[in-house]
Every structure is written in structure tokens, then in C-alpha cells.
């Protein structure tokens, strides 16, 4: 069929395609994908992703599978829970572990990565949301527009429960409240306050931790009310161990890249791999061996490193970026300008830096960890990462539609420049909605920044 080649590029085995054909076609039909869309997807996969690596192919495939699972979740008779992104991930991963009937997802993450990142077809979903509750031009979150637009279009099912979180973003619970009114879906709110004092990071006040922990327990009580399943502490711990294992394996890949020069792989690939392992696999694809895929990728990258092969010249300036884009063109543009994207402040986690918790209760410990990382552009955290990864510069973006991310980059820039003395480029662009930036204007800034870093590095070398 016209889509077989694309699926093969995404690591599907021929027999798997045959087995899944009915489901695949149902999903493509629902998404109104034409052969031209599939063709575009194939071209984009070849252009932006490192399909020489089986690990990347398999991970792309897992994204496609998670899209299929999402679109068909209702007709496959699963209990569907939509969690806010960025979610209080411990709650989501615990919920999914209680039964195979439970399907937990942040649909905007899956949709933006696949319908957007692979097929470049997200606009019609965004426009649907803009035609309803979230009009264009009012700086609404593109992630939330994606979720709402997909529900309204009937691309993804109306969930059985919404798990909403307001401690990072106030827009999410507000939208969930509206969706609840429109479709009669119950909402479990996990409330909290993101008002940490920067100097104290990563210390979090007891009051905030205990409050958030109780909110998590309340959300699980609501989950039981809706699904009939109880999330025990044992299940929660098991889920957490699984997530921690995936994170540890992923960090091994990042460490390998950190110490390699030339850099062996594009950050476009690392971005999709890490987001898969840390945000999707722990909820939607429990039965698939994602850890094995991460290990495969590690081995393949290691081989490249051992051979001294790289995707950019040796000695190229190394930078940190402030946000991964589900849309591959932006990171690709940065790399084309000759900059190695070494680390994303949102894909690295400083688990070892969490103070040893005085709490014994599982949810209090989890809350402490969640609060520690919720302000993902925290100037203190950004500074620490840039220092540890010894980068030559940083590119931070401030998406105007993101409550959490649109303010802190300016402060982070100031901190990085004054305290670490590294140049920082601020970009006004969205991490999901590609209509929100002009490619040429961005290229101009990125290339100028690259020229500046290269000149500075050359001067230093002299």
C-alpha cells in the first residue's frame, strides 16, 4: 500500500504492517490523511531523522503506534484518561499500571510529535480549536489547541476522565473545565502553586509538597470513582521504578553524546527519543520494550563514536537549547548553521540533585520531585545545566502562548550571560505551532548567532 514504505522507515516489520493494516487504515482515514500526506511524511522522515539507525526507526514507529492507540482508544473499549502536559507524571504512570484497560495519555504530545512532526498536518487541528474556544491571535497554548481541536474534529475520543494540573500553567485547568462542560467529562484537579523562590531551588517548602501530595491522592480517588480501579502504593512504586529505569537508560545515551566530539547524532533524533522514553512510554506503551529500544540506540551511537563519525564537524560550538520542538525544522536549522545542540534543558533531569527527602510517604516524595522540575526554565536550573555541560552558548525560546515558558527565558538569559559569560539567543517561536514563526527571520538570527559563536571559539583557540 501507499503507506508501507513510510511504516518501514518507522521500523515496522512487514508482518507487523499486515497484522495492523486495518487499524492503520482506520486511523489514516480518521485523520483524513491522503497519499500526498503520507508522501510528505516519508520525505520528512528521510530528511530530518537518522533512519540509518534502527533505534531511531523503532522509536519513530513507537510514536506512530501511540498515535494509532490514541485514535482508536474508544473503539478498542479502553478507559481513557487525558493528563495535562507537562503532567505530574507519577500520577499518570501509576494509573496506567493498574490494568490493560486503562489508557493514559497527554494527547497533545502524541499528536504534535506525529501529526505535526512527521506529517506536518497539525494546522487543520489547530484551526479547528481556533474556530471554537481558543481563537487565533490571543496567545493560547498550541498544545491545548491541539488537544481541543482533535476532540472537536472527532480525531481523538472524548476521554472518561481529565487529570488537570494548574501548578505549572493556569490555562490547562481552565480548558479542561470547558471540555468538562461541553462533553460532561469529570475532571480531577491536581492543584498546586509554582511560586518557588529561585535562590532556594531545589529546596521546596513543606507546605507546597504536602498540599500537592494530597491533591495527587484526591486525583487517584477520582480515578477510582470513574474507573473502579484502585492505585495502590505498590503499583505506584512499580510505575515509578519503570519510569526511573527508562530515564536512567536515556541518560546513558545523553552522557555518550555529551562526551563525544564530533557529535554522533542530531538532536532532532535525541529529542524524539527522549520525549518518547520520558513522556509517552511510561503511560501509553507499557507492554512494549521501550528500554530495549533505548539500549539499541545507545549501542548504535556508541559504534559511531568509536568510529569517530559525526553529523557535524569536530570542534563545532556546542549549545544548550531551552525547549525541544516537536517540529524538527527548528533544531535542524540550528544544526545546519553549524551548532551542536548538546542538551535541552527540558530533557535533562538532575535527579541526583534532589535533596534527600525527609518524607517517607510515596506521594509526598513524588510531589517533592515533581515540584523540583516543574519550573522548567528556572534560571537557576538552566545555569546549572549550562555549567555542567560546558556549552559555548544557549538558545532559549519564549513561546508567547505558554504561561510557564514565556517569562523565564529573559531572566535566564541575563543569568547565563552575567554569571557564566556565555552568549544567549532568545527566539520568539512556538514549540508546536509552526505558523508562529517566520523561517527566514529565525534563520537570520540563528546563523548570526552561529557566526558569533564560531568567531568567539576561533579567537579563543588562538
Amino acid at each position: 500500500m501507499y503507506y508501507d514504505e513510510l511504516l518501514k522507515l518507522c521500523g515496522y516489520e512487514p508482518e507487523e504492517i499486515e497484522r495492523e493494516r486495518t487499524r492503520i487504515e482506520k486511523v489514516f482515514e480518521k485523520l483524513e490523511f491522503t497519499p500526498e500526506d503520507i508522501d510528505r511524511g516519508e520525505k520528512r522522515v528521510r530528511q530530518y531523522f537518522d533512519i540509518e539507525l534502527n533505534g531511531i526507526r523503532k522509536m519513530l514507529g513507537l510514536w506512530v503506534k501511540s498515535l494509532i492507540d490514541l485514535v482508536l482508544a474508544r473503539e478498542e473499549r479502553r478507559k481513557i484518561i487525558y493528563c495535562a502536559a507537562p503532567p505530574f507524571s507519577q500520577v499518570a504512570s501509576a494509573m496506567v499500571m493498574v490494568s490493560e484497560d486503562i489508557y493514559v495519555v497527554s494527547p497533545e504530545v502524541t499528536l504534535s510529535q506525529t501529526v505535526g512532526g512527521i506529517f506536518d498536518r497539525l494546522n487543520s487541528i489547530l484551526e479547528t480549536a481556533e474556530g471554537d474556544l481558543l481563537p487565533a491571535g490571543l496567545a493560547y497554548c498550541a498544545g491545548l489547541q491541539t488537544r481541543l481541536g482533535a476532540i472537536i474534529k472527532g480525531v481523538i475520543p472524548v476521554p472518561d476522565l481529565l487529570v488537570s494540573s494548574g501548578f505549572v500553567c493556569d490555562e490547562t485547568p481552565k480548558l479542561d473545565e470547558m471540555v468538562s462542560e461541553m462533553y460532561g467529562v469529570p475532571v480531577a484537579y491536581i492543584d498546586g502553586v509554582n511560586d518557588a523562590v529561585e535562590e532556594n531551588w531545589p529546596q521546596i517548602s513543606d507546605r507546597r509538597i504536602e498540599y500537592l501530595a494530597q491533591e495527587a491522592r484526591d486525583a487517584l480517588a477520582k480515578f477510582k470513582e470513574v474507573t473502579g480501579y484502585t492505585v495502590t502504593e505498590e503499583v505506584s512504586r512499580r510505575a515509578n521504578e519503570r519510569s526511573a529505569d527508562l530515564l536512567a537508560r536515556s541518560k546513558r545515551v545523553l552522557e555518550l553524546i555529551r562526551n563525544a566530539d564530533p557529535t554522533p547524532i542530531s538532536f532532532v533524533d535525541i529529542g524524539i527519543a527522549f520525549r518518547l522514553a520520558t513522556r509517552v512510554a511510561n503511560t501509553t506503551t507499557v507492554s512494549i520494550d521501550t528500554g530495549g529500544m533505548v539500549d539499541l540506540l545507545y549501542r548504535e551511537i556508541k559504534e559511531r563514536v568509536d568510529r569517530g563519525e559525526g553529523v557535524l564537524p569536530k570542534g563545532a560550538p556546542r549549545i544548550a537549547i531551552g525547549l525541544s520542538w516537536s517540529e524538527p525544522t527548528s533544531v535542524s536549522m540550528i544544526e545546519k548553521a553549524g551548532l551542536v545542540v548538546l542538551v535541552d534543558m527540558t530533557t535533562t533531569t538532575e535527579v541526583e540533585r534532589i535533596p534527600r527527602s525527609k518524607y517517607e510517604d510515596y506521594w509526598e516524595r513524588s510531589s517533592e520531585s515533581a515540584l523540583c522540575f516543574c519550573g522548567i526554565k528556572f534560571a537557576a536550573k538552566v545555569k546549572q545545566i549550562c555549567k555542567e555541560w560546558a556549552v559555548d552558548g544557549a538558545i532559549l525560546n519564549y513561546p508567547i502562548g505558554c504561561r510557564d515558558l514565556c517569562i523565564s527565558p529573559v531572566k535566564s538569559k541575563e543569568v547565563l550571560m552575567k554569571e557564566l559569560g556565555i552568549p544567549v539567543l532568545l527566539l520568539e517561536c512556538d514549540h508546536i505551532d509552526i505558523r508562529n514563526y517566520s523561517a527566514e527571520a529565525m534563520r537570520n538570527r540563528v546563523e548570526a548567532f552561529a557566526e558569533m559563536l564560531k568567531a568567539a571559539k576561533a579567537a579563543k583557540a588562538k
Binding site: 532568545l426 520568539e428 514563526y437 527571520a441 537570520n444 557566526e451 558569533m452 568567539a456
Partner: protein
């Protein structure tokens, strides 16, 4: 040794022909729709002035928004690097360059050797760019070159939004209907644009000498209001519009020296 720098910007295409560090010729034309034609035409024009042909150019660097579309360029560089190079060549004491072009405005910080150490640019908004003045001149039925001198003749500039060209346009229409004088309106427009650019530059800071480049630098109203905002004197090179092309030509010369 003849080299050229071509700056194909959003509003105008500029070229500078250089020989041994001396400007032999330059030309400026509107970019128009066809950027390739503009690049060809402006180069031809500058070469005709000195009776040379394009084949005699030993190295060409293109810059500006359409830099990648110049088919005969040997290399492309961004205008940030080129403006820095050009301004530093003419004014070696320059440490801050404010470049206000047709589509964007930038503030560039350079060190004593003319290397860029930091820069900031406006993002998607046209406020504080040449386009802002074009729109306002259109609303007021003036030629853009008339606006600067008029802006200096007001003691009570209107308060106009500095955040958006479209909003500012409707504000100007409304203020005109209220009977505010032409001088107050135009002065307010300049003040708003200057505030926008001055605020943008705070991201990188200002250090003396401050040099104004780009077409808008010719506007004495912008110069005055910018100086008021940043509380520093600014310098304007004789032909501020060709700074990017000059920088590109200087870098072309350096490239040739490497070979």
C-alpha cells in the same frame, strides 16, 4: 583586487565595490519583488559607475534577507556580522550599532576588534522598523524623507503605541480626527519607534560609541528621539544604508587574503 559586498534587504538592495580597502563604488536600489534581479541590477549599476564588469570581481559576499538567493555570491553571511564589520571599519570606536532596516531593527554589541559579542533583533513585530515609518508616512500622505525634520518641530508629541504598527496606524487616524497637529503626530510616531528600539537594545546594553546604520538612520527625528531614550549621543556614517554591504565587501577582501 576587486571585491563586492551585496546586501539584499527587505526594502533595498545595496552593493559596495572595494579595492584594497577603498570604496570604489556603491549603489542602492529598491529590492522589489524579484530579489535575484535586484541583486543583478544593483551590482551592474555600481560596476558601471567605475567601468568594470562582474567578471572582474574576485570575491563576492552576499548578506541580508535574500543573501541565499544571490546566484553569483561566493559566500553568504548574516547582516549582523556585516553591519558590525562595516561600522567598525568607518568608526573604529564603535561599540554599539543600532541598525534599523526596512523589516527589522537590531542592536549589535561589538568589541574593540569589531567582533560581534552580542546582538538582539525585533521578532515578528514591525514596530520600530522602516516599515513602521512607511506605513505612517502613507497614512499622513507624506514622503518618508519629510518626516524626520517635521518630528523635531513639536513641543507636545502625541502618545502613540510602540508595540504594533497596525494599532499605531489606527491610533494616528484617531488622533488626526481629534485635531492634533501634524507635528505632534509625527513627533509621537518617532518617539514611539525610538522607544521600541531603545527598549529592544536594553537586552544587550548600550556602550559608547553608538552608531546608527540602516536607511532609518538618515532620519534626524529618529536619531534625536533615540538619543533621548538611551541618553547617549549617536553617530551616523555618511551613507548608513550601505554598512551591511560594506562589511560584506570587507569580509570578502579578507576571504581573498586567506586564499
Amino acid at each position: 583586487m576587486l571585491v563586492a559586498g551585496i546586501d539584499v534587504g527587505a526594502a533595498t538592495a545595496k552593493v559596495v565595490i572595494l579595492s584594497d580597502g577603498k570604496i570604489l563604488s556603491y549603489a542602492i536600489i529598491p529590492t522589489g519583488f524579484d530579489v535575484v534581479s535586484a541583486a543583478n541590477e544593483v551590482t551592474k549599476l555600481a560596476l558601471e559607475k567605475i567601468d568594470h564588469s562582474i567578471n572582474e570581481l574576485e570575491f563576492i559576499i552576499s548578506t541580508g534577507y535574500a543573501r541565499n538567493a544571490v546566484p553569483f555570491a561566493n559566500k553568504t553571511l548574516t547582516e549582523i556580522l556585516c553591519h558590525a564589520k562595516g561600522a567598525h571599519f568607518l568608526l573604529p570606536g564603535a561599540r554599539t550599532i543600532i541598525d534599523i532596516g526596512g523589516q527589522d531593527s537590531k542592536v549589535i554589541r561589538i568589541n574593540e576588534s569589531g567582533s560581534v559579542v552580542n546582538f538582539t533583533m525585533n521578532d515578528k513585530c514591525a514596530a520600530g522598523t522602516g516599515r513602521f515609518f512607511e506605513v505612517m508616512a502613507g497614512v499622513l500622505g507624506l514622503d518618508i524623507s519629510e518626516m524626520g525634520p517635521i518630528a523635531l518641530n513639536s513641543s507636545n508629541p502625541c502618545q502613540i503605541s510602540s508595540t504594533c504598527t497596525v494599532f499605531a496606524e489606527t491610533e494616528v487616524v484617531s488622533l488626526r480626527a481629534q485635531g492634533r497637529s501634524r507635528e505632534d503626530l509625527i513627533s509621537g510616531i518617532h518617539k514611539a519607534a525610538a522607544l521600541r528600539v531603545a527598549t529592544l537594545g536594553k537586552m544587550v546594553g548600550y556602550e559608547r560609541q553608538v552608531v546608527l546604520t540602516g536607511g532609518v538612520a538618515k532620519n534626524i527625528g529618529v536619531k534625536k528621539f533615540l538619543e533621548d531614550e538611551i541618553k547617549m549621543e549617536t553617530m551616523v556614517p555618511e551613507e548608513p544604508q550601505i554598512m551591511g554591504a560594506l562589511g560584506a565587501a570587507l569580509l570578502a577582501q579578507a576571504e581573498l587574503g586567506k586564499q
